[in-house]
Amino acid sequence: MDQKLYNERLERFKKVITVEVPDQIPVSNPFTPEFALDYAGYPLTTAMWDIDKVIESLNIIFRDFDYDVYNKFLWRAPQFYATLGAKTFVQSETGFIQHPEVHGLEADEYPEFIANPFKTILEKVLPRLYKELDKPAPYNMVAFTKGMLAHSSTIGRYFGRLNEIQDAYSTPFITSGTVFAPFDFIADLLRSFTGISTDVRRRPQEVAEACEACLPLIIRKALMSAPPAIDKMIFIPLHMPPFLRTSDFEKLYWPTFKKMCEILVENGRYLSLFFEGDWTRYLDYIKELPSKKILARFEYGDPKLYKEKLGSVMCLTGFYPLSIIRNGSKEDCINKAKELIDIMAPGGGFLFTPDKIILKSDDINKENYNAVIEYLRKEGKY
């Protein structure tokens, strides 16, 4: 490891998170393990099962692209999900792990969940989502234990081996663990998109109480996942608000999400929030989140408006359309980068990363991508 280079990159990152001016705009590339495997020429259907190929492929993208920091992505090891007979995450014909529309909690079970969420998760939700956990004892216990071993020897091992890459390329990996906002936790696997969409209309009070009930569990999981350090952020992808009415967001999503952010920050944690979809109508809420502790990534919206509303509160990133890198000319790409840094860079608090996570090698034109990064290196100095 080149310790000096690592420290320079880390310092650059710390400056933007605290909304200060760094020496230059830091860069982070949202390359997933799936992208890395595809880029390295491996078929996802088989290579997704092989941790050595995943690590080798990630090494290749760190060799070929210029980074300051990296937001770690989960490798959803198929063998772990297969061990448990998962209905939640299933490998498709293309090799990608898909999340089918499934649910583990029935609508009339809200009171039970609210009274004791962890017990309900153990006894009702998990057996419905994982076929092997639905077997009679002791087979369910054997499956549970095998799953735990599989989790540790695949996903646990993967996160351990990412340290090799961090050291080899002197690049701070800035996240440590993932959790969901309480509403998203209820929506994703407990009630599903369809279920929660009905619940917000038919049983809003129970949805609100369920969010309150699972908040302590999510806080515990988050605190366990990340130490209090600026380069060990808790990654929180935010899913449902673009699909909610603003009045439902205000009553059902926002209170426990805000509380969660505040508690985590009070406990010394830093947050990497990925605002999926368009959050423009929620900007006045977002600016109430804890100041100078958050990396906020946006997909859509007017960068000028976001800079104006949130620029003094949190570090902003995203907005740069990946579609230009894929379909535009090199000149288009550089012009867009210039336009964005003219808006976002003044005063610091800006980190460059495209608006979308990169999943496949044909999501980008490599020459365009590297031309943008090269431009930022030259023109992104303060």
Binding site: T145, M148, G156, M224
Partner: protein, 47 residues
């Protein structure tokens, strides 16, 4: 870092965890008391 440095649980540790499996009412009733590894694993199944 070599593979040996990563945390793969021993059978002894897994056996300890078995004592807090769902059949034991305490695991669900008093979630604050279940051990961290058990809790972390259960929550990771829903993320």
């Amino acid at each position: 870092m070599s593979d040996k440095d990563t945390t793969i649980m021993s059978w002894e540790e897994i056996k300890d965890i078995e004592t807090t499996l769902p059949d034991d009412e305490k695991a669900g009733q008093h979630w604050e008391e279940v051990n961290d590894q058990f809790f972390n694993y259960v929550m990771s199944l829903l993320l």
